[in-house]
């Protein structure tokens, strides 16, 4: 598959269809990292294997700002796994980037690994084919998982005091570096509420109440928008189980509104719309 990716990237760059192709390349010390290829001759830097965990859709944020007058808006090619493609759909739904500016090479996915261990979310994943693409590569995998939210349910089952203690312990470890937010394709606000100085919602203190505030608000802001790509948890230097928080919201959104994030590029997300008659637990 790597050869096909390289060939396509080379073709896109040579023909001028895109000015940059975003994929993965070999990094240092046996790691894989995002690659930005501008020259068709560099297309051989691109690789694809099970270490490619990053969600590249996050790099499309820089196309939010409109180009200068008279400038042709840049087009990019991008390599997306199925979960990443759902993040791209969210960006399309929210009109953060125009469909014509992105050439998507979608990849079917067998799951990715971190340090040789399969990521837990991949074992649960039931979507192995990208949901938006201009070209799809790879064969459909036979093994498909099922999302049962077992860990979320387990945490829900704990008595409230224990749940509070669990989250406070996790937030205590947080250093409020915002790596989770920066790695997230759905977090594209120019000025995050957590850093706003006028008014100051969360202040500058790196203490448990402010961190709790930040994480709860970020999880809430991702309601109906989080694709479960786990970029946040992978980026966190302190190993905080953010997916437990984000998937709880995803589960509630699914239960209450029958909605999963990023299934297509046009549906209005549930929190941006309403039904006149609906029974919600309030």
């Amino acid at each position: 598959m790597t050869d096909k990716i390289r060939a396509k990237a080379r073709e896109l760059l040579e023909s001028g269809q895109v000015s940059c192709f975003i994929g993965y390349e070999e990094g240092t010390r046996g790691r894989v990292r995002p690659a930005f290829v501008y020259d068709p001759q560099d297309a051989d830097r691109l690789i694809w294997d099970e270490r490619c965990t990053h969600n590249l859709a996050v790099y499309l944020h820089q196309f939010q700002r409109p180009p200068r007058r008279g400038e042709e808006p840049p087009r990019v090619g991008i390599l997306l796994k199925p979960c990443d493609s759902r993040s791209l759909n969210v960006l399309f739904q929210e009109e953060q980037i125009e469909r014509e500016r992105v050439y998507v090479v979608g990849l079917t996915c067998q799951g990715v690994k971190v340090n040789g261990q399969p990521e837990e979310r991949c074992l649960r994943c039931s979507e192995r084919v990208p949901l938006v693409y201009d070209l799809v590569l790879g064969s459909v995998p036979k093994v498909v998982g099922r999302e049962d939210y077992a860990d979320v349910v387990r945490l829900e089952g704990l008595p409230p005091g224990e749940r509070l203690a669990f989250w406070m312990k996790e937030f205590d470890r947080c250093i409020r570096c915002y790596a989770c937010r920066q790695a997230c394709p759905a977090c594209y606000c120019f000025e995050c509420v957590a850093e706003q100085l006028d008014p100051q919602w969360m202040g500058i203190a790196i203490d448990v109440p402010q961190k709790q505030f930040f994480h709860v608000m970020r999880a809430y802001h991702l309601a109906g928008r989080c694709s479960g790509c786990n970029a946040c948890e992978d980026a966190c230097p302190m190993g905080i189980p953010l997916s437990l928080l984000n998937r709880k919201i995803a589960r509630e959104v699914e239960t209450m509104f029958g909605y999963k994030a990023g299934q297509d590029a046009v549906t209005v997300p549930p929190l941006a719309t309403f039904k006149k008659e609906e029974a919600l637990p309030l």
Partner: protein, 140 residues
């Protein structure tokens, strides 16, 4: 828990229905506990969950969001959005260990002075029962 502690309750009342409802309770001389501080907003749909969390962070023991009855919103749709938001917020707060009974979302019309007083009285008693909250930290 202690019944003699004075809870700090923040109420977000919408300008068209619940705030006049509260006014009506006052002019009708209906008594209710004095611990709620009112913040008037144009519509319950204006109440960002951020406000609710900030209120808890800054010392509130309970938060109320009162709006027009669904279907009667002055801005037509605001309270439908609020309804969805707070259904989700309740679940999220409960999940991170904040008692969801500390957040009340209800509908009070401009003519329902008595209902407003009832809702406030009940909620205050509930929050008293739950005890002080005010930005609980793990180190006490």
């Amino acid at each position: 828990m202690t019944t003699d502690f004075e809870p700090q309750i923040i109420g977000f009342l919408c300008r068209w229905c619940s705030y006049p409802g509260a006014d009506l309770a006052g002019t009708s001389r209906i008594t209710y506990p004095p611990f709620m501080r009112v913040i008037r907003v144009p519509c319950s749909g204006r109440v960002d969950p951020l406000f609710v969390l900030k209120a808890f962070q800054d010392g509130a023991d309970g938060v109320m969001v009162l709006g027009c009855h669904p279907g009667d919103c002055h801005y037509l749709e605001g309270n439908y959005h609020a309804r969805r938001r707070y259904a989700l917020m309740h679940r999220l707060l409960e999940y991170v260990g904040v008692d969801k009974d500390r957040l009340l979302v209800d509908w009070v019309s401009a003519a329902e002075g008595r209902h407003f007083a009832e809702v406030t009285t009940e909620f205050t008693a509930q929050v008293r029962e739950l005890g002080p909250w005010g930005g609980k930290r793990i180190d006490g």
